[in-house]
């Protein structure tokens, strides 16, 4: 006698045990520690923090370990933890102009105040697999090389330099004390204000934003970008405490900021000026920050009365599909049972086929109808 498949608590428990076993892998190989992940897979940790929208290296490293290196799964773990945390206030805006810079490059000026700082980058490496990394003591320098120039020197933002000549649109300063959007506490509505848009992009999937940004470069909403500046380093985070009457420092976070300088606009009595696209991401995630800046600018099409002809310019399309935790959930939910709906479809299909067969067998009936 057939017994309908019982999902069963035991099957789930066994699956979890098997997963834990697979996560550990061969017991003869030393177990990886969250500290090792934090130190040696630091860019994976950066991405898990950025898209998990929670700045906590230790937690992100642990999530990566638990997720067996599946970064979207790790991001999901971080998000599901973050969402339970109480909100006790909003930080003051961080001042990226005062960043303790570890890397800073500009595509618009050969030299500029503060200079260009390459910092730790893959940019000019040859992508040849380094087989010496198989061995311990892999040729990493005993200590990090230090910058020949003084990194403490002031590094004004490139866009501020351009703005000095009134050549780029001015950033509208928000009213002090104006409420800030919080996409994790409000359901989205369209058109989205720019703060909500930037927040959504900042936690959006790197690959999705990369593809959209790329499409604007290939003609689907072209916006003539220049990298005004990319900077990566530490910025201070401060919280204004009402009881104290002043802002207190909470600590420093590492961020990557990208300021794109885009095609100019004028008219309506305004002189022509470059326009801006902005990207800001936790950790060192340049690909993401640049993609974000390109997509941010593309999404301003309406503001500049540009024809919207690329997907990257379609706000509702971009913002409602950029979250990888949402996307992976809904795509993967198709593996859950759909027996009931499938059965309902089967019943209709069979009826339609019966009618079709009857009509084919006796075509005169159909003609009479």
């Amino acid at each position: 006698m057939y017994v309908a498949v019982k999902g069963g608590e035991r099957a789930i428990a066994n699956a979890h045990a098997l997963l834990a076993d697979k996560r550990r892998g061969d017991r003869a190989i030393p177990e990886i520690s969250p500290e090792q992940i934090d130190q040696q897979l630091a860019l994976a940790v950066d991405r898990a923090m950025a898209e998990g929208s929670l700045y906590d290296r230790e937690l992100a490293a642990l999530a990566i370990k638990q997720a067996r290196g599946d970064l979207i799964e790790a991001i999901f773990l971080v998000r599901a933890y973050r969402t339970t945390l109480p909100r006790f206030g909003f930080a003051e805006p961080v001042e990226s102009g005062a960043m303790a810079v570890r890397r800073r490059v500009s595509g618009t000026y050969k030299d500029l105040p503060g200079g260009q700082v390459l910092g730790p980058t893959f940019d000019y490496t040859h992508r040849l697999i380094d087989f010496s990394l198989r061995e311990d003591g892999d040729g990493a320098p005993a200590s990090a090389p230090s910058a020949p120039a003084d990194l403490e020197a002031a590094m004004p933002r490139v866009t501020d330099i351009i703005a000095g000549g009134d050549l780029i649109e001015r950033n509208v300063s928000p009213e002090p004390g104006a409420p800030v959007a919080d996409v994790t506490r409000d359901a989205p509505s369209y058109p989205a204000p720019r703060d909500a848009r930037l927040q959504t992009l900042a936690r959006g999937d790197e690959g999705f934003l990369l593809g959209l940004a790329y499409s604007t470069q290939r003609g689907y909403g072209r916006n003539h970008p220049f990298v005004g500046e990319i900077r990566f380093g530490d910025v201070d985070v401060e919280l204004f405490v009402d009881d104290l009457g002043f802002a207190v420092p909470l600590g420093a976070i590492a961020v990557t900021e990208c300021q794109m300088v885009n095609q100019f606009k004028g008219g309506d009595g305004e002189p022509p000026r470059f326009t801006r696209g902005y990207g800001l991401v936790f950790g060192q995630c340049e690909r993401k920050a640049m993609s974000m800046a390109l997509v941010d600018r593309a999404l301003r099409a309406e503001e500049f009365a540009e024809e919207r002809k690329g997907p990257a310019q379609d706000e509702e399309f971009v913002l409602s599909h950029s979250d990888n935790v949402q996307a992976t959930g809904f795509v993967e939910h198709l593996k859950l049972p759909h027996y009931v709906d499938f059965q309902a479809e089967l019943a209709l299909l069979r009826e339609l086929r019966r009618e079709h067969a009857a009509a084919t067998a006796n075509p005169r009936n159909e003609a009479a109808e």
Partner: protein
């Protein structure tokens, strides 16, 4: 970490209050989709995060929870959600439809009629009935505001013109309290008549899409149709192999690779109750 790292029923009390406000609004405007600030939950989107947030917001220590998926208590996702609340809220759980105060469901309405002291919580993937006719939220919200539902009737009419039938067999649209058209979630249209004039409160939660809507008790719910093509419930030619029911939704079970199949109730509690009653009758 403190001794209790998570609040009763996982969500913090502020979040629950926010969701309860959305629920109250949803009850006040039957069938209207209320936006709410959906939270990330520890299960993936598409696994019932909307329903779980509703349940977490309304459940109390004295509630008795039943969770079904595809009508069954023992499908993996139902087991998992039931275990989640047993763990985070320490509530009593049951498989008995009549014993439950809250029933969370995916894709089915129980066969056993519900009562006024019960709440049915639906997990909803796409809350917008017009979504597949108009992908833009900005458009569909306007269409609802103006009760501009012509496209839906055109779609149903086109089905009839093409197939001779309305070709929607699940997530069949219905009009609530003579105003909003709603998506009853992907329940088979077989279940649609149970929504009408139901004594229990029916809550619908879409986590990823951040919407909550409701059918208050004893509300008129009419499945869309035409005078000359009235709404028809899916009919089965077979009876349940286990309990013989001819009034329940049946799952088709393939029993060999030679085309053999049988039909069994999708609602496991309903089916087992009937089998027990039959055994008792036979013994007497």
């Amino acid at each position: 970490m403190t001794a209790r790292p998570y609040n009763f029923a996982y969500l913090d009390e502020q979040t629950k209050r926010m969701i309860r406000r959305a629920i109250l609004k949803a009850i006040a405007i039957p069938g209207y989709q209320v936006p709410f600030a959906s939270r990330e939950m520890p299960m993936p989107y598409g696994w019932g995060t909307g329903g779980v947030q509703l349940t977490a917001s309304i459940i109390g220590p004295d509630d008795v929870l039943k969770v079904i998926d595809q009508g069954a208590d023992d499908t993996t996702n139902a087991v998992s959600i039931r275990a989640f609340f047993a763990k985070t809220a320490d509530v009593a759980t049951t498989t008995d439809t009549t014993q439950a105060t809250i029933i969370q469901t995916r894709h089915r309405v129980p066969e056993t009629p519900l009562s006024a002291d019960q709440i049915l919580v639906y997990q909803v993937p796409i809350p917008e009935p017009l979504r597949f006719l108009e992908p833009r939220e900005t458009e569909t919200r306007t269409m609802h505001a103006l009760a501009e539902y012509g496209v839906m009737h055109v779609k149903l009419y086109e089905d009839i013109a093409r197939h001779g039938h309305i070709a929607t067999t699940y997530a069949y649209p219905a009009r609530v309290a003579d105003r909003y058209i709603m998506d009853p979630s992907p329940i088979p249209k077989f279940d649609n008549p149970k929504l009408d004039d139901c004594p229990a409160l029916q809550l619908f939660g879409a986590g990823r899409e951040q919407r909550i809507y409701a059918i208050p008790p004893f509300t008129r719910v009419v499945s869309l149709d035409f005078e000359d093509h009235p709404f028809e419930r899916t009919k089965f030619e077979a009876a349940c192999e286990f309990c013989g029911s001819r009034d329940s939704f049946l799952d088709e079970v393939v029993i060999d690779d030679k085309g053999g199949r049988m039909f069994v109730c999708s609602d496991t509690d309903y089916c087992q109750k009937r089998q027990q009653a039959q055994k008792k009758d036979a013994a007497e």
